[in-house]
């Protein structure tokens, strides 16, 4: 191995690598420099996204900084001027050989039954640099193997080489230091505290970065051998962050998803949801055949041609009496075709959001930020929305790094302390209904507390917003029991204080930003009769009032996802025809009249548009079950059947049509997306054009507690529910309140309380949550055991009262 001759000349640090004069960048780590220059130094513990620690000693190389050559760990060295590095000297080779012999002393030779075998850095390095034979004849160290350290991860301590990667990840990157080195010397092991499992949302990353087979993930254990796997790069579509992934399959089944390092997005990390949700694609109860109702109202399996004809008939009714709900699950190409098809049919009521998002005007009417802008050192980020750890976990890791390491200043304008609150510089915990009021009160000379927020915090926030550095607002829906207009009003108020702010969308649902970009938003149909289209909530209300005959659900489950449960129930009861195009049996498909099975993630090629507007590829790796079809084919067939030929016969033709007709996609090279780890950002320049909607929030009534309904990462969502390893993680519904409220009620955490609301009452277990302000009760949305949607009505906020359960 020799250094490449044509190394790029940088304005850097001259040094000698294996006798060749080269240049490193200022402050560049020696291992990074060698990687860049094409010289490989073996390593186990070094990871470019984490602090070097020099634990494994594998990267010992001979380095001369003017005091004579000495063996030093390359990962701990910054290249200094005139440093002489020799990675091939006799001393280096002997050191590598020795380190490997020592590492292998206690490492079991169970490679044939080890999941890592075949892709194991220890195997590879032992083969390339190791002694080949061990002189160790004594008994190896033994531990119970493997032990579960969380619901998803198993630890085999015998295989561990103590590289500190997993423990460093847990501490530095995830901020969940629940695994640690325990004991010392020859007994050192990685472990959790007894009965405190490694229950991190990011635990799967430790499996990916483990350089040996010590950490294995339950969903992948013994499922495949690395040499049987074939892979393709794609994008995690389970939330809107759009983390880049590699998906791997064996025997036409998705078996593993790995994070791919994208500088602009996820830095190689994934949440466990993004990593393991692929199990759902392989679930037993996927929709496999087109279904329609027979005379008795039972589902019957139909051929595609028949089902398409029946669905086309439903679509050909009066356009103003048809509504299209959903589309966030679809790839960009299918969203485009659905927008075209609804244009052709004159359907203006279409909405990819399910009443749990924001007015799309917020995204089109404000300058848009990228994740990188939000994470610019010295900048300020305002959290105006849900906890990113629960809704956009990969984005959370980027933000956490920015506020913990890069000096980005965080302002929380949230209903309760977020997962980043320990790093926040100003904490504005506005009670539900008060966000706009609090935002409007942000001022350097604030003197009175507003909406439960101290004047001091308001002044601090004003100071931070006025400081140098870009201001980015992460706007999402913090509270499903509160009208989204309040979030919009708060954003406008923030804009008054920081006119240069940019918005990073916090809408969470899959490819929602692609859907908005393609026009699956109310009222944007071109061929319509000028009537404004209805939003999902308006469509449901119209359906309930008998003004809509047909609802088309594009991968949407309004029965479970629209916050206002009563509204959905009455709409579904009244509407004549429901066409559902989905991958799973959901509460909504069960009520549908026509069900068309669609191909799921991992089964179709396409394009994903993340919350920045960044395009990345979605790739097919396995075939769809039964007769399930790609969404773009379904749309194209329905277009043909309704007499509106869209003129597309292949994905390539769809893409050509997109590039031609959608201005923001002009010049996009769809085929090049796979090889572009960062991907182009579309729809960039947007000027501020928002004005505050007026919302009047009633004072807290006799009920006394304002309701906060928000999401947790593990809920009863369709995908989580169908992934066997994840389903049991779903949060159980409890009502949580500040400890002071518990004291007032005279109940203990875990006790049953009666929750009284407008429409009745319900008994729930109560929990204490120190992150909640007084006067707020929180219930997670789509949690197991209780549907919080039944509490949500049409008012701007919801008030509830807690009593001790009578029994």
């Amino acid at each position: 191995m020799t250094a490449t001759e044509n190394a790029p000349a940088t304005t850097g640090v001259p040094f000698t690598l294996n006798g060749v004069e080269l240049e490193a960048k200022q402050g560049e780590n020696l291992l990074d420099a060698c990687d860049r220059l094409g010289v490989h130094i073996p390593r186990f513990c070094y990871h470019p996204r984490m602090t070097p620690v020099g634990m494994c000693r594998m990267c010992l190389v001979e380095i001369d900084t003017g005091r004579g050559p000495a063996l030093q760990p390359g990962c701990m060295m910054t290249v200094s001027p005139n440093m002489v590095v020799n990675t091939e000297s006799e001393a280096t080779v002997k050191a590598q050989d020795g380190v490997l012999e020592l590492l292998l002393i206690n490492h079991p030779l169970d490679c044939p039954v080890c999941d890592k075998g075949g892709e194991c850095p220890l195997q590879d390095n032992a083969f390339a640099y190791g002694p080949g034979e061990s002189r160790f004849v004594e008994e190896k160290r033994h531990y119970e193997k493997p032990i579960p350290i969380s619901d998803l991860v198993f630890l085999d301590r015998e295989r561990c080489i103590l590289c500190d990667r997993c423990t460093r990840f847990a501490d530095e990157v995830a901020g969940d230091p629940l695994i640690h080195f325990v004991d010392r010397g020859a007994q050192t092991q990685v472990n959790t505290f007894p009965d405190h499992p490694f229950s991190s949302y990011f635990s799967g990353n430790t499996v990916q970065i483990c350089p040996v087979g010590a950490l294995t993930a339950k969903p992948y254990r013994f499922k495949a051998r690395p040499w049987d796997l074939t892979g393709v790069e794609s994008t995690a579509a389970v939330d809107a962050t759009g983390a880049r992934v590699a998906i791997q399959s064996s025997q036409n089944r998705l078996v593993r998803v790995l994070g791919v390092d994208s500088d602009a997005v996820n830095w190689g990390w994934l949440s466990d949801k993004e990593r393991f949700i692929h199990e759902a694609t392989d679930a037993e109860d996927r929709l496999t055949d087109p279904l329609t109702r027979d005379d008795a109202g039972e589902f019957v399996v139909r051929r595609w041609t028949d089902a398409t004809k029946i669905a086309a008939e439903a679509l050909q009714g009066p356009a103003e009496r048809i509504g299209v709900i959903g589309g966030a699950r679809l790839p960009l190409e299918a969203q485009f075709l659905w927008a075209r098809l609804t244009d052709e049919l004159g359907i203006t009521s279409r909405d990819a959001q399910l009443g749990d998002g924001l007015d799309p005007a917020i995204l089109s009417g404000a300058p848009r930020a990228t994740i990188d802008r939000a994470c610019t050192p010295g900048g300020t980020v305002v959290l105006l929305g849900a906890d990113p750890k629960e809704e956009l976990p990969s984005l959370f890791l980027r933000l956490r790094h920015a506020v913990a390491e890069d000096g980005v200043k965080l302002i929380e304008l949230t209903p309760r302390a977020s997962s980043l609150s320990s790093y926040a510089k100003a904490r504005l915990y506005a009670a539900p209904g008060a966000a706009a009021e609090v935002a409007a009160a942000i001022s350097t000379d604030a003197s009175a507390s507003v909406g439960g927020v101290d004047a001091q915090e308001l002044a601090k926030a004003a100071e931070l917003l006025g400081a140098d550095g870009p201001v980015t607002v992460l706007v999402g829906r913090a509270n499903l029991a509160e009208t989204a207009d309040l979030t919009a009003a708060a954003l406008v108020a923030l804009h008054d204080v920081a006119p240069d702010l940019a918005v990073l969308s916090g809408l969470r649902r899959g490819n929602i930003h692609g859907a908005i970009e393609m026009g699956l938003v109310p009222g944007s149909a071109e061929g319509g009769d000028g009537a404004a289209g209805k939003s999902t909530e308006a469509m449901l209300a119209a359906a309930a009032a008998g003004e809509i005959d047909t609802l088309v659900l594009l991968g949407a489950d309004p029965m479970a996802d629209v916050p206002n449960r009563e509204l959905v129930e009455s709409a579904f009861a009244a509407v004549a025809t429901v066409v559902s195009i989905d991958t799973f049996n959901t509460a909504s498909t069960a009520r549908a009249d026509i069900v068309l099975p669609a191909a799921a993630w991992g089964e179709v090629d396409g394009t994903f548009c993340n919350l920045e507007g960044r395009l990345s590829p979605l790739s097919a790796k396995v075939t769809s079950p039964g007769q399930a079809r790609a969404d773009w084919i379904i749309a194209a067939e329905l277009a043909l059947a309704t007499g509106h030929d869209l003129g597309v016969g292949s994905l390539g033709e769809v893409r050509s049509a997109m590039v031609e007709t959608v201005p923001s996609l002009a010049g996009v090279d769809f085929d090049g997306l796979v090889s572009d780890a960062d991907g182009p950002v579309i729809g960039g320049d947007r000027a501020w054009s928002l004005s505050a909607p007026s919302v009047s929030v009633p004072p807290v009534d006799g009920y006394g507690l304002r309701l906060l309904v928000d999401r947790t990462l593990w809920d009863e969502g369709t995908m989580v529910h169908h992934a066997p390893s994840l389903a049991h993680l779903a949060t159980t519904a409890t009502v949580s309140v500040a400890p002071a409220v518990l004291d007032r009620l005279g109940v203990q955490p875990g006790d049953q309380v009666t929750l009284n609301h407008e429409n009745g009452s319900v008994d729930l277990a109560v929990a204490a949550d120190g992150r909640l302000p007084d006067g707020v009760a929180r219930i997670p949305f789509r949690a197991a055991g209780f549907d919080a949607g039944t509490l949500i009505g049409e008012g701007p906020v919801v008030d509830v009262r807690l009593d001790r359960a009578s029994s």
């Binding site: 969940d176 230091p177 640690h180 080195f181 325990v182 010392r184 472990n191 505290f193 007894p194 405190h196």
Partner: protein
């Protein structure tokens, strides 16, 4: 044997107030827990984690690194017999064997009555006084086997009031009032130390 009792929580909070970062109080609090129970119980580690705002795993990591934090109950008196070179030459191993036979336990074991735990240790820094041992880390010098028997008898009969039960570091505890403490400053507020600033490249 569990979480810190109310008096010790007060003490713990005082100890924590000595440090600019709560986490720095971790080791003193582990000593406090060991003083309370004679060993560091799992519940105590969880309690300390709450007090200094780290995870229990981090407390365990620190606690388990140090041999002298015992994570399982030990005897009231921990007897450490030195078997390193000087003591070995002057009868340290014989002393250890005698201790094993007298107490009826192997090194690492605890007598049934919970009075004694025996350990063999490496050098305890009293080579001029070999063979030696420690009782709860208090030295006993130049012991014959008879001396050992006398020591054990004295300990059993309570004559050695100078040796507190296992876990007690000292009998005097300092209470430094807040106004008399040396400037406690959070490292983040310290600015760049002078010795480091002088090596920083000049701003261009």
């Amino acid at each position: 044997m569990s979480r810190l009792n109310a008096a010790n929580v007060t003490l713990a909070n005082e100890i924590i107030s000595h440090y600019p970062k709560k986490k720095s109080a971790l080791i003193p609090l582990l000593h406090l827990a060991q003083e309370q129970d004679g060993y560091v119980a799992d519940d105590a580690m969880e309690h300390i984690a709450e007090l200094v705002e780290v995870t229990p795993a981090e407390v365990l990591g620190t606690c388990s690194f140090y041999e002298m934090f015992k994570r399982h109950p030990v005897g009231t008196y921990m007897i450490n017999v030195c078997t390193n070179i000087s003591c070995q030459l002057l009868g340290g191993e014989e002393l250890l064997h005698h201790a094993e036979q007298t107490l009826g336990i192997r090194p690492g074991g605890t007598t049934d009555d919970g009075m004694f735990t025996l350990e063999d240790v490496e050098c305890i820094a009293a080579c001029t006084e070999a063979p030696c041992l420690q009782v709860n880390y208090r030295h006993e010098y130049r012991l014959s086997t008879d001396d050992f028997d006398r020591l054990v008898a004295d300990l059993r009969s309570g004559k050695r009031s100078d040796i507190p039960a296992h876990g007690t570091l000292g009998t005097v505890r300092q209470h430094i009032p807040a106004d008399r403490r040396a400037g406690i400053k959070h490292p983040d507020d310290e600015g760049t130390p002078a010795w480091f600033a002088s090596r920083q490249p000049a701003e261009s």
